[in-house]
């Protein structure tokens, strides 16, 4: 079945007809997001120019029961913006106005198509910035960040998108427009904004977002330290945290990731070392200086083989260039790769990495590791060659790594989201009752399931579940839950 002419004309009335794209060649540009393994060509792509047009388009969807998928820059890595067959994509790319920067109240009001970095650029003249900084911040949009509850390298200290969004104007699945959240941390009833942020586009489309801005820290100190083992680098992180220091960022890269990053951007990392640790502190100068001395002493105590302290803004930028380039750089040392995203309790990092290394050698595949060591968020990169027929094996390994994170008491995803990619793994982390309650919440926002269907929550159609005899849930076996 395809969308009939009546529906298409309704969209053309709601928007400028030129903003309704039906040419299959043009629609193909929207067939996937950053997770290119999943592709569906949408029937139509809508390019509204403001929030009112988004609401008008959604009202047409509601009236004709057409499923819709909101899309920002399409940089997501979990298939969260994968189109739905027989549905439409609503691109927010044209809603890119910064509506207000309010330095007195340290906040900005923006449309969803504004990029993450553009918010900081608009705030910078006032000595302010927007804290969450996903690696893709130059291109990813704030609307997508809200959908995914994006983090970034600095979220250990500063938190995630949910901590920095005060309110959202949201178009609900019936086309009505509501405001979730308020101008302060106060709420009128349950924190609906908090449920909306991170719901991966399944509860509505945000058309205006009010974000908190922070004052640019007075001092930023960054170091790059090399270690002979991942374990030693991990102990440094433990000691920093035990000393009561909350670093702005703690990042770790292993040998393979360093090799890739160096080939790509020549940021000055040491080739061949087992682990490179990036530690960044920020804050008032007096505090920052004292704690930075403590951190360098901890690094030396654990036998760091090289300690490079960024002496200038340029040197600091180079360290971050190496770290942030790591994902894409892996393309230089492998024809193909999967980026995984999972979380383990920080204290189980070494165990997790041992297990991942063992799983990699069992599968005969290399795994490069880049991770946020402060909060246990791993990004294992599974290297493979599709031409050599390794794709399926690599995909299995990557999926097994995410599920390993759950087994170790962590999460299937720290920042990339569940999307299409991991919906079928959700039962490893949540019980059927947990998921059923989430489905009830979803239905409260969107009773007809039109808003980004097939994402986050597993469905029998998606996952091919078959009812079978009782088996204990993995969490039950681990003693985390009991069946009542």
């Amino acid at each position: 079945m395809t969308l009939d002419a009546v529906v298409r004309r309704a969209f053309e009335r709601a928007l400028d007809p030129r903003d309704v794209i039906s040419d299959p060649v043009q629609c193909r540009a929207y067939e996937c997001d950053g997770l290119t393994g999943y592709r569906v060509v949408p029937e139509l792509v809508l390019l509204p120019r403001d929030g009112a047009q988004v609401a008008a388009a959604v009202r047409v969807c509601a009236e004709h029961r057409v499923p819709f998928v909101a899309r920002g820059a399409g940089t997501g890595l979990s298939g969260g913006a994968l189109p739905v067959a027989d549905g439409v994509v609503i691109s927010l790319a044209r809603l890119k106005r910064v509506l207000e920067v309010d330095p007195a109240n340290r906040r900005a009001v923006v449309e969803p198509g504004v990029t993450n970095l553009e918010i900081t650029s608009a705030a910078a003249p006032h000595g302010l910035y927007y804290a969450p900084d996903p690696s893709s911040q130059q291109v990813c949009t704030i609307g997508g960040n809200v959908a995914e509850n994006s983090g970034g390298a600095h979220c250990l200290k500063y938190g995630f998108t949910t901590h920095h969004v005060l309110s959202c104007e949201v178009v609900l699945a019936d086309g009505s427009v509501v405001t979730l959240g308020s101008d302060t941390g106060e709420q009128l009833g349950p924190d609906l904004r908090g449920v909306f942020v991170g719901s991966e586009g399944t509860l509505g489309i945000t058309t205006t977002i009010t974000v908190r801005l922070l004052r640019t820290p007075e001092t930023v100190r960054t170091l790059l330290a090399d270690f002979g083992s991942i374990v030693a680098a991990g102990e440094v992180v433990s000691d920093i945290i035990a000393a009561g220091i909350v670093p702005a960022a703690v990042e770790m890269m292993d040998t393979l990731a360093i090799e890739a990053a160096e080939q790509a951007v020549h940021a000055g990392y040491t080739l061949g070392v087992a682990a490179a640790l990036v530690v960044e502190l920020d804050g008032p100068a007096e505090e920052c200086d004292i704690q930075f001395e403590q951190v360098t002493a901890i690094c030396e105590r654990h036998g760091c083989t090289r300690l490079h302290i960024a002496g200038s803004r340029e040197e600091r930028a180079a360290i971050w260039r190496g770290r942030k380039a790591a994902f894409a750089a892996v393309g230089r040392i492998s024809p193909d790769y999967f980026v995984q995203d999972g979380v383990v309790p920080r204290t189980r990092l070494a165990e997790a990495l041992d297990r991942i290394a063992a799983m990699g050698s069992d599968a005969g595949l290399r795994v490069a590791n880049v991770f946020h060591a402060g909060d246990g968020n791993l990004h294992p990169l599974v290297l493979f060659s599709a031409a050599a027929g390794e794709s399926e094996r690599a995909e299995r390994l990557s999926g097994a790594i995410a599920e390993l994170c759950v087994e170790l008491g962590g999460s299937l995803s720290g920042e990339h989201g569940i999307g299409t990619d991991k919906a079928c793994s959700m039962p490893t982390m949540f019980t059927p009752d947990d998921l059923a309650v989430m489905a009830r919440v979803r239905a409260a926002f969107d009773p007809h399931g039109l808003c980004n269907p097939g994402k986050v929550l597993p469905t029998p159609r998606l996952c091919g579940e078959r009812p079978g005899r009782y088996r204990p849930h993995p969490l039950e076996e681990a003693g985390v839950i009991e069946r009542l």
Partner: protein, 369 residues
Amino acid sequence: MTLRPADLRSVHETVLDTPGRIAITGAGTAADWAGPLDAVDAALDTTGLTGVIAHNPGDMTVAVRAGTPLRALAEELAPHGQHVAFDAARVADGATVGGLIATADAGPSALVYGSLRDLVIGATVVLADGTVARSGGHVIKNVAGYDLAKLLHGSYGTLGVLVEVVLRLHPISQRTATLALDVPLAEAAEHAARVLSGPYEPVALEWISTSPGGEGRLLIRLDGTEQALPARVQRLHEILGSPGRTASNEPWARHAELVRGTPGLAVVRVGVRPSELPGLLAALPVNAVTAGLGTGVATVALAPEAVAQAHTLVHAAGGTSVLRSRPTGCDAPAWGPPPSALPVLHAVKTALDPDGRFGPGRFAPWLVP
């Protein structure tokens, strides 16, 4: 009838075995906040659900039963140099973790750490039909699934029983200092703007009234290390252009008293863009005030007859307001004009508690049982 289950299983069974309407209660430190409860068939007392389930100092997380007083949890965490970075006034009165979440309470340090919605990383909830649902987990960074704990935050016992909660912890600062400056509100707001636009990183920045006539005191709290804090305090003195006084905890005890309320008066919690706050407070017939000049959140004491007008004025300023404690017999409205998201609130309530069993009346007149 009061039921006092002591673990998850007995909460589940209690909810299943108890017909009719149920009030979910904690330590009772906010029992009369928001809309008054309608008649109920039973009270589910959560104060039997106590104790730490797991504290992982290296991960800076703790899983705790929701009926645990936060004060008691703080005592257990303190030897590890860690705490829940949360300082609402009623913590000292024995408020439970679950109660503080359900009422969306927050203290002065919300300026930096937010409220408990920002610190809860996992929750186990029992719904009105007995369903046990978990969300989040034991790790700080986690985006898997909907964050149901957020829905419980500010739900005033109307959506489910919080049974277990996992919280993110922060290190306890080596040292803390508070600068106190006796100035009226308008002047305090100017100081606050200067402090907030500089590199001083205050943890709390509040003005408290010291007389009904408009006199008051600005309190600025800095947290930091032994070595660095004195220099930071000195810098702050310099930009304030007046010596101020470096005080102990005494002014914060006074702050907490004002938040608790004044006998014979109603307490309204107000939130508005920070720059709007001084003007709004000047327009309200308030007897006593604490005003978060960085957060935009104020707690005001006023005559019960003035509550309705306060709701109207706050709403007109684009803010939020809710009635907290009030004198016995006071029938002032708990809520002002409804938010645009009321249909969503209604739909969520219907999805999770279709028979209206939990906390009837709390959101009246918005949600009518």
